[in-house]
Structure formats: structure tokens, C-alpha cells
Symmetry: C2
Subunit: 326 residues, 2 copies
């Protein structure tokens, strides 16, 4: 087996050299620690010079490593002797950034260890270096994934559910604690001596079982995009009725994204109904600033016959302010 392979475990890398002649040079294979590939190289001149450097790549160029480490050279066999470097803490980019000269006559078989005490990414545009090893994100995402899996099982398998929801076409079971934590309206239902608290049932007659299921998927953290798109308007109504602010904002954001001539009037109506200021402005801009009013000429009359007077007034004001007499 060639002796260029470096073994790694945890934050330790070990290069076992089988034979190293008098005036030689040897470079190791790349070995991965953190987000970089590394190399070790040794050279025999007056000293034994040990170098540690990251492999040239886009990662090491754009996110160069700041490493805190210690190097160790030791021969093999019973009367082991070893040399330990000082603890270095350096930005490592090129082969010259870390050269350790060891006054040792080692040749033939010996071992080089690198123990990384800390590894950070050095921001090229200045600012604080960020740690490579498990940051908050890693642990949090593991725990989040576990929790979300449990929540979806709690919902799908109705584990210890304590409230029944009667929808327009079927029932669902859920957990009062989750509903209460997500909505002030649900919270008051279960706290004050209301019918819902005693009977542990809720009636949501203005939602189908399927869209109510989408609402629960949202509250239990695992709604899919498809489910959200399909039930957006029902979710918007529920978010407004049960005061679920994040969901209301998410619906508004999503409805803003695909305004077109076939839905702009309907969206304007919803924006008015649920006081969605951004969506209302977006629709008015689409109609008047972008001149799309011409594309919906026929629908305007039926729209005006049932729209809220204040909305009609606001539309009229918009035309006056945006358009000019020709």
C-alpha cells in the first residue's frame, strides 16, 4: 500500500510514512477535515520540514480556513520519540502559510499527526470568522426534523388527540394545546367556559374536511406547497377568522406572486375583505399602473355590481391619480 494515504478520525489526521529517504520530498493524498480537502508534505534538507495546506479549490479560495492545530512527528516501535509543534492558529491558504521545521533525523518509518483544535471559515469580506463544527444550525435541524416527524405522526395517528373538529363534510381530531398555541381565537375557546371547552369539539362548517386538513398540516409544520396552493383561499379565510398571523401573511405573499388578468379582480376582492394592504396595492398597480384594466373590461361591470362601495371609490381615486387626460 503506497504511503501517501492520510487516515482521519474526529479532528485528528494521521499520516503513516513507510519509507522516507535522506533528501526526499513527499506529498500526501488529500484528506477531508471540516469543509476542506487538505494535504501534508514533508521535505528533508537540513531539517525535516512539515507543511499543512488546503487543496486549491473554490471553497478554499472563497472560504479560506483559519485553523488552530498542533502537529506531531513520532517514530514507530518501542522506544518511541516524538516531537510536538507549538499550537498554531493561522489563516491557511498556500503551502507557505504553515511550515514546521523539525530538528529530527527521522527517516524510514514514522508518523505525522495533525490535531485540529478548532477550524473556522475566514470571511473574505472581513467580519467574524464562523465555526465549521456543529453550529447551532446542525443540532437545531436534527431536533427540528425529529419534532416535525413526531408532530406529523401525532396528527396522522391521532396520538392522544383531545378535540374533534366537525367540518362541512367530515370530522378531524387534533390537539387543543397546538391549536391554542397557534391562534388566540382557539386559545380563548379552550380557556373560557365556552361550549368548545366542555364538549371538546369545534365546528368549522365553512371549511371542507380537505382544506381543514391543510390548515392542520400548516399548524403541525408539514404542509406541502401543492396543498397550500390548492387551499390558499380557504386557508386565508381561516387565518383571518382564527387570527393566525403568519399564515395570513404567507397567503398574502403567495397571492401577490401570481396575479394575472384572470384572477386580479377576485384577488382585489379578497384583499379588501381581509384587509391585505400589500395585495390590494399590488392588484391596483397591476390594473392601473400596468394598464391591465383593458384586459378585464367585460368583468368590470359585474364586479362593480357586487363590490364594496369604498373599494369602488378607492379604484376610482387610483385611476384619477395614475392616469392623465390625453
Amino acid at each position: 500500500m503506497g504511503d501517501t494515504k492520510v487516515e482521519t478520525i474526529s479532528r485528528l489526521a494521521q499520516w503513516r510514512i513507510e519509507n522516507f529517504g535522506p533528501c526526499s520530498f513527499k506529498k500526501s493524498d488529500p484528506f477531508k477535515v471540516g469543509i476542506w480537502n487538505w494535504h501534508l508534505s514533508i521535505e528533508r534538507n537540513r531539517y525535516l520540514s512539515v507543511r499543512l495546506f488546503p487543496e486549491l479549490s473554490r471553497v478554499s479560495k472563497e472560504q479560506p480556513p483559519v485553523a488552530k492545530f498542533v502537529l506531531r512527528v513520532s517514530n514507530v516501535g518501542p522506544n518511541r520519540r516524538f516531537y510536538i509543534s507549538p499550537v498554531y492558529e493561522k489563516l491557511l491558504r498556500t503551502t507557505d502559510d504553515c511550515v514546521w521545521h523539525v530538528d529530527s533525523s527521522f527517516h524510514g518509518r514514522f508518523t505525522i499527526d495533525v490535531e485540529f483544535l478548532d477550524l473556522k471559515i475566514c470571511p473574505v469580506n472581513g467580519g467574524e470568522a464562523s465555526p465549521v463544527w456543529p453550529t447551532d444550525a446542525t443540532m437545531q435541524s436534527i431536533s427540528t426534523q425529529t419534532t416535525l416527524k413526531c408532530l406529523s405522526r401525532m396528527l396522522e395517528e391521532s396520538i392522544l388527540t383531545d378535540v374533534i373538529i366537525h367540518t362541512a363534510d367530515g370530522t378531524l381530531s387534533a390537539h387543543k394545546a397546538i391549536l391554542s398555541a397557534s391562534s388566540t381565537v382557539f386559545k380563548s375557546m379552550f380557556h373560557h367556559d365556552l361550549m368548545e371547552k366542555e364538549s371538546s369539539t369545534i365546528h368549522i362548517d365553512d371549511m371542507s374536511r380537505e382544506s381543514c386538513m391543510a390548515l392542520l398540516s400548516y399548524l403541525y409544520g408539514n404542509i406541502t406547497q401543492e396543498e397550500f396552493w390548492k387551499h390558499r383561499l380557504a386557508l386565508l379565510g381561516a387565518a383571518n377568522k382564527y387570527d393566525i398571523t403568519d399564515l395570513k401573511a404567507a397567503c398574502e405573499e403567495s397571492l401577490m406572486e401570481d396575479i394575472n388578468s384572470s384572477n386580479v379582480l377576485e384577488r382585489l376582492q379578497e384583499a379588501w375583505l381581509y384587509q391585505l394592504e400589500k395585495l390590494k396595492k399590488g392588484c391596483l398597480m397591476y390594473l392601473f399602473d400596468f394598464g391591465k384594466i383593458y384586459d378585464v373590461r367585460e368583468e368590470i361591470s359585474s364586479f362593480f355590481r357586487q363590490a364594496d362601495r369604498e373599494l369602488m371609490l378607492e379604484m376610482f381615486q387610483e385611476v384619477l391619480s395614475v392616469w392623465k387626460p390625453v
Copy 2:
């Protein structure tokens, strides 16, 4: 106001040109749609030539856009006429990828609309183009954030909690449904007619209140890295005792990452106690393959006096298989 600015809303971009002479050329400012900056340009020769192209950048080079869109040119004022392009679906990289020749004599004031019907990222190394507009990830992450906020409120404000946990030094309240969904042991406690089910209390005397709080933070999806590191061993014990497999794996993974000479024997003991195969192998490799056994020479005797006989045997076998007589 110069007429090079392009307004955008939702998937529509509109360029209102104030004056465009006979044989001229005009290029718009960049406007952002999706993840790219775009330009429109118009040129008058025999036709009016309209071009749409992404601004040259690393994004447009490495993740070029595949756009489905329609262009529209219309004059302003009462007798509006407009020309609508066919629906294009193209990979757009350069100014020549999309040229629409309009046989119109428009000059002076007119408007150009681009309506993006769909936008995808074309993978440079082949494979399926990925949509730019809200993918599953966007919606899921909104719903996940909402749920995690609710869960941490449920825990911190003890909203409708239904079980009391007595730890070694204090009590905590939690939700049976969440504990049951996370652990088969908790689940059976609350399902079978055991003391816990009747009394709605659990006794965890081998955990401090603080480490039990860390356990709940993990189960409710918002443990911090710091909390995890501080209580890793207690969490490992609890994960083993209550059969919380994800947590057990996360603890093993984390303990593998910072093995060093001061903790390797303690970790080997834990790995043996909780049957953590990977951690055990990692510790043995650290000790024998990497020769760190020399660093822990003194501690070995006290370790051997209380270690499990089978573990001692396995360590001995490891030495015989990894080392060679010199």
C-alpha cells in the same frame, strides 16, 4: 424621469418608453425577476426588434434561466393597438437568444410588457430544470417556523400541559401527546393502565431539572447547540432509557466529533454501556490505530479495574489485530 426604468409586479415587467426616434437603439435598466437581473432592448431598423436577456453574471452563467414568456408592445392613449408575441419557451443566455421582430411603426411613446409564465433554472451539468418560484421548501419553512414558535410557547407558557415530570431537583410540565409521539416508552406509560397514566405524573429521578429541560427542548424542536453540548451525556442516557432513536444517534455523532485523549476512555465506556457501535470503533481506532494509547497510559489501570470484562477482551483483541511485534 429617464425612460430606461422597468417596473415589475408579480411576474410582469413593464417598460414605458417616453420617446423613441426613427432609427434608434435603447436598452433598459436591469430589473429583477426570479433570481436573475434582466434587460430589455429595442432597435429600429426595418422592424422594431425587441430583445430580452439576462444580465451577464455568475448566477446567469452557472444557473442560466429557462423562461416561458410572452412579450407585448402597445401604444398609449385611447385608440390603443398592441402586438402580442407568440409564447416563447427558451434557454436565455445572450442577447441573441430572444429577438422578437414587430412589424409596427410605433415611435414616440409606447409600452413593452414581459409576462413570465414560468421560470426555471437550467442545470449546467444536465438533468431536470428546477422551478424558481416558491418551491416546496419556501412554504414548508414558513409553516415549520410557525409551528416551532408555537411549540416553544406551548412549553415555556405550559399551554394546556397535561403531565408533570418530577426530576431529581424540581418539576416540569409537558404534553403527553408530544412525549408519546417521540418515545415508545413514554407512549406505553400513557396507554397502558400504569401509574403514570392515572396520576399524569412521571418520575425521572436520574436527571436534573436542567438536563430534563434540555431533553424537552430537543423533543419540542428548539434545543440550542450549547444546551446540547452541556447535557450530552444526560441526553444520551435518556435517549437510551426512553428509546428516542434520533437523539441517541445525534449524541453518538456528536461524541464522535471531539474525541481526544482526555475523554476517550470515558467515551469508550459510554459506547459500551449504550451499545454505540460507531463510537466504540472510533475510540478503539483513536487508541490503537492512532497510537493514542500512549497518552492515556496512567488512566488505563484504573479504567481496567472497573471496565466490563467483555470490553477489556475486545480492547486486547484490537491490540493484537492492529499492532505487530517489532
